[in-house]
Symmetry: C2
DNA sequence: TCCTAAGTAATAATGATTACTATTTAAATT
DNA sequence: AATTTAAATAGTAATCATTATTACTTAGGA
């Protein structure tokens, strides 16, 4: 698809999402979303900040962080990694998935049934030598669902 | 399986792995690995540090971080999240996997063939309401493999 | 055009992680 | 068993990513 057209459409989608959630459409939000959407490099905060600063010289780092969090909440972007605020470790090497609650950051193990296995995509070997596979399923855990219902 | 036996076996495995890689078997390494291996909670660094300190009062935070990195290198443990040193973002909502190079931290998109799809495990819904799924394939990318060959 | 809560800039603070250096120790060698 | 030595550690300082605070600005509805 035409990239410019694609970007235009995605920005319309962003505006729509803001309206639905009662969030304001600010130039900063559009600029920051635009930087993430146009890149295929999975940019980090610093990269986004530098790029936006070119057009908007006194944007602050704080705004970039806050805006990225908002865009995540709007389901317009997501993080490739660093879901959790700090590193967490696992010594269980048997193949299993993780359910990560986006509200309370709890991590649950999802063990596979005896007949199940984790399936690699056909193109997986294209980019290098695979060591392991890590499947994160993100959502709201039962405990938080219950808590939210009560409020 | 008997948990104590399991832990004993895993610690033997750790010792073996250290010998193979020419790394020393230190009490700190065993204690820190033991804490991760015995827990089902995917503990964070602070939790591990506090637990190890009970038996080894003057272990340092630095040692915990260094040791966890070593254990990762030995393939005895892995991180549930926070592979990358900083957060990175993606605005592409079409289902695809990510190949993350553990050497250079580069992230590559693995797009699915038209007939492929990401398969959820049967038990996935057990823990809560799913929002999305994030598949990280970890390994060494072609660029790094090439670089390593030349040295 | 005015009003007001949401959003922002500038800066300070926090919290996680890494680096440095003197000291200790695992384990190979004698 | 004693010696040796490079690897690992403790203690502390420094760095880096991220979040909080506060006063100011602005989007967008009345």
């Amino acid at each position: 698809m035409n990239k410019e057209l694609y970007l235009k459409e995605r920005i319309e989608e962003l505006k729509e999402a803001c309206h639905i959630k009662g969030m304001r459409v600010t130039p900063q939000r559009i600029a920051i979303f635009n930087e993430v959407a146009k890149s295929c490099q999975h940019p980090d905060v610093e990269t986004i900040y530098e790029a936006v600063k070119d057009k908007m010289p006194n944007v602050s780092m704080d705004t970039v962080y806050r805006t990225l969090a908002s865009l995540e909440e709007l389901d317009m972007i997501f993080r490739v990694d660093n879901q959790l605020p700090k590193a967490r470790f696992d010594a269980d090497k048997t193949p299993h998935h993780h359910f990560i609650c986006t509200q309370c950051n709890e991590v649950y193990d999802i063990f596979l049934e005896p007949d199940e296995e984790i399936i690699l995509p056909k193109n997986a070997n294209k980019y290098g030598k695979i060591k392991d596979i890590n499947v994160q399923i993100r959502g709201i855990c039962n405990k938080c669902l219950e808590k939210n219902r009560k409020q």
